[in-house]
Amino acid sequence: MCFTQNFWNLVVSGLADGFLYALIAIGYTLVYGVLQLINFAHSEVFMSGGFASYFILNAAIGTSQPHGIASVGFLALGTIGGGLGGAVVAFLLERVAYRPLRRRNAPRLAFLISAIGASYFIYNLAGKEFGRNALEIPSPFTNGPVFTIFGATVQTVYIVVAVAAVIMLVLVDRVVATTRLGKGIRAVAQDAETASLMGVNIDRVISQTFIIGGVLGGAAGFLFGLPFGVVYTMGFTPALKAFTAAVLGGVGNIRGAMIGGLILGIAENLGVACTQASWRDVVAFGILVLVLLIRPTGILGEQLGRAA
């Protein structure tokens, strides 16, 4: 095979991509669960998280190079900052672009169009306000090869991504499965009207769902921007891939989104080894189309928050 030579290397970088896809995909899945709607503008939630962490870290670190425990602190700061940025944008997005339509019981086409509009508005506004060149996030650590496993180089940044992602994925899984908020989200996803009869404030739960998705998406924006910098157009492609991952795992299914993300990340990296790097997106979209045609409900099926 074309990737035998580099197999483990590609798997490792694929996993790193996959974790990011998983984090973004959760946002799609949660929102899809409560609104039966693909949040097209989730890409900009991701982008906003990247920018928020850039500004926060810039203020906190500047050009100095932190070491040791300080690095961990700054990483946490970046992740939280990105999560906050994503949460704010996701919240506003729901308020401005979706809620008025929901109140009116508008057709679904209207939601999709409003979402596309929001996406274009947000990223072009970011381009206008923050410039259209990529900005480098001040690095809270020195990146480099840490160790090798099966001959694959594992970089610091991969470890950071994996650790942060695993923490957040486990957290969100537990929140949805066990807390009162999680129960509200699942109730709204399964039957919104009945949930409201149980005393669930649907508007609030939907807001909170957007916020949770926004936190994960925004944090992913930071983790993504860490090695590559942030730029106003950064959301489009990763978000489309994450959407593919969500479909792959079954839209509306949180664990499905995680698994879908990892599978997509690895498949894409191995796929690139067999073609030119320029065909990478084609590999991902090809997977998307195939999944939709063969098994549109995804690997684990469509459902939100089956507890255990």
């Binding site: 009162r180 129960k183 039957d191 009207e193 409201s196 009869l197 149980m198």
Partner: protein, 238 residues
């Protein structure tokens, strides 16, 4: 009065669903609402719990107008609604479904859970089973149990006997009687008019979104018009 509907009008777009609807329920009563399909029974219950907002008229709960309140606020006042078609959360366990019923309450709900399991022993046996896998009768019990979890002052029951075997229907009605014995006020919507009127104190008859008759349950049960229209086919459930 615990609940008063005054001159209520509800529309779906241009189509009126309820007009000049007035109804009242005193504390501790069981009142039943009779009528054919599409007469407006379910709409009445949905308007009370805030799922529809009336175009005109008032809904007074303990003298306070709740006509424009959101469902979760209405619910917080002590009105609990077991909806038509049961609407169990299919992928939540029985316990989780019951916990949803107590969603607004903070603090211990252990006792209430036990009470429901006492009322419906079959639910206790299926605590961990997803709601969607229960039988129709069990789902209905779960729906009623869930509605009771919020310790309501007023319980709205929409067609609790729909699609159930006669034996189960009888069981459910006897449980409703038990609930009433604890002092909960009940507004019952039923197709099964005989059973409902035997259980209720008073009844209202709806036709095309208007109240056409209201009386004590006994008189309605005896009324020839009611007998002809609503009791004809189900006069004697065997």
């Amino acid at each position: 009065m615990l609940l008063e509907l005054v001159d209520l009008e509800v529309r779906y777009g241009a189509i009126p669903a309820l007009s000049a609807m007035s109804l009242e329920i005193a504390e501790g009563e069981i009142v039943t609402l009779l009528g054919a399909n599409g007469a407006g029974k379910t709409t009445t219950l949905r308007s009370i719990s805030g799922l529809h907002h009336p175009a005109r008229g008032r809904i007074l709960f303990e003298g306070r107008d709740i006509a424009t309140m959101a469902p979760h606020h209405v619910m917080a006042l002590g009105i609990s609604h077991s909806p038509e078609g049961r609407r169990i959360f299919p992928r939540m366990s029985v316990t989780e479904n019951l916990e949803m019923g107590a969603y607004r309450r903070r603090g211990a709900i252990r006792e209430d859970l036990d009470r429901v399991f006492q009322l419906f022993p079959v639910l206790g046996e299926r605590k961990r089973q997803p709601g969607g896998t229960l039988s129709g009768g069990e789902q209905q019990m779960l729906a009623i149990g869930r509605a009771l979890m919020s310790e309501p002052r007023l319980l709205l029951l929409d067609e609790p006997s729909m699609g159930l075997a006669p034996l189960i229907v009888r069981e459910i009605f006897s449980i409703i009687r038990e609930i009433r014995a604890t002092g909960t006020t009940i507004l019952l919507v039923e197709q099964n008019a005989t059973q409902a009127l035997r259980l209720a104190d008073r009844g209202y008859v709806l036709e095309n979104g208007r109240i056409v008759m209201s009386d004590t349950a006994g008189s309605l049960l005896a009324d020839p018009r009611v007998r002809a229209a609503y009791l004809g086919e189900s006069a004697a459930p065997a």
